[in-house]
């Protein structure tokens, strides 16, 4: 994953959005698919790699496990929230530019 230019991958964006609430891995997959009306299907291997990278970055954190559950739950951190806000501003710019220029063209 390349964060250097500030643009998040679609997978990372949806993982961070999903983790505004505590969720385990499979919950993230389901939520991303639901939010995107079935378009975004995060594959398990890709998701696992992304979760580990985000943990390293400190954008998400693992919750202390419930006693009778092996499933690990994750939640977004403040740093992750900041990242999401920056990404949202970037996406707005993309959308606004696209809308403005395409409208001009169709006039």
């Amino acid at each position: 994953m390349n964060f250097a230019n500030g643009a998040l991958t679609e997978a990372v964006y949806y993982i961070l959005l999903s983790l505004l609430e505590a969720r385990h891995g499979y919950g993230i997959m389901q939520n991303a698919e639901e939010l995107s009306h079935g378009r975004v299907k995060l594959a398990a291997g890709t998701l696992y790699g992304a979760i580990n990278t985000l943990l390293e970055k400190g954008w998400i954190t693992a919750l202390p496990g419930a006693k009778n559950s092996r499933k690990k739950e994750y939640i977004i951190t403040d740093a992750g929230r900041q990242t999401l806000l920056r990404e949202l501003a970037r996406l707005e710019e993309l959308v606004n530019n696209g809308k403005a220029l395409l409208k001009e063209e169709s006039l």
């Binding site: 994953m1 390349n2 991958t9 679609e10 997978a11 385990h24 891995g25 499979y26 997959m29 299907k41 995060l42 594959a43 398990a44 291997g45 890709t46 998701l47 696992y48 790699g49 092996r70 499933k71």
Partner: protein, 174 residues
């Protein structure tokens, strides 16, 4: 009923191996265990399972791989067998399509893992061929040459595929 089949696949044909296993599952034979060139099947509903192969970073029984395999289990993906660092995974077809990777980046990373396995074997055999040739060891070096060239063929196949993914990645992430 158990059915045992023996078949050989080259590493660079691992997607053919996947295809073959999925075809067997479509015919009602579900892979349940693996050995060297050995595949054990049990009867299943036609098309009940989908199969995938993955080369893990670590041995399947290492703590790192166990964590990963447990994560896969959560998503309904089960390990049915392994061969060295390769694992045979399956998922119920009723749960939808089965892919391990959903973007080019992670597909490329998987190919890199395979290349790191194959490139040293290639170089080792080609190197031993050159050394053996200098020491006039008869036909032995030519065995190394044959293995080396075969692996080189595999390396080239994987490099071509990696290059294709890299080009795709330039315009789209998945």
């Amino acid at each position: 009923m158990r059915t045992v089949l023996h078949k050989w696949f080259w590493v660079w044909d691992y997607d053919k191996e996947e295809k073959w296993l999925n075809q067997k599952a479509a015919e009602g034979l579900a892979l349940v265990a693996t050995g060297i060139c050995r595949y054990e099947f049990e009867d299943c509903e036609r098309g009940e399972y989908l199969y995938r192969l993955e080369l893990l970073e670590n041995h399947p029984d290492s703590p790192e791989s166990r964590k990963y395999l447990e994560f896969l289990e959560e998503a309904g993906i089960e390990r049915v067998g392994s061969y060295m660092r390769w694992v045979y995974l399956r998922k119920k077809a009723a749960d939808g399509p089965f892919d391990l990777f959903s973007d080019y980046e992670s597909r490329i990373q998987h190919l890199n893992r395979i290349l790191w396995l194959l490139v040293p074997i290639t170089l080792l055999n080609l190197g031993m061929f050159l050394i053996g040739l200098n020491q006039s060891l008869g036909w032995v070096p030519f065995l190394n040459l044959a293995v080396g060239l075969l692996c080189l063929y595999g390396v080239i196949r994987f490099l071509i595929r990696k290059n294709k993914y890299k080009k795709e990645r330039e315009i789209s992430e998945n």
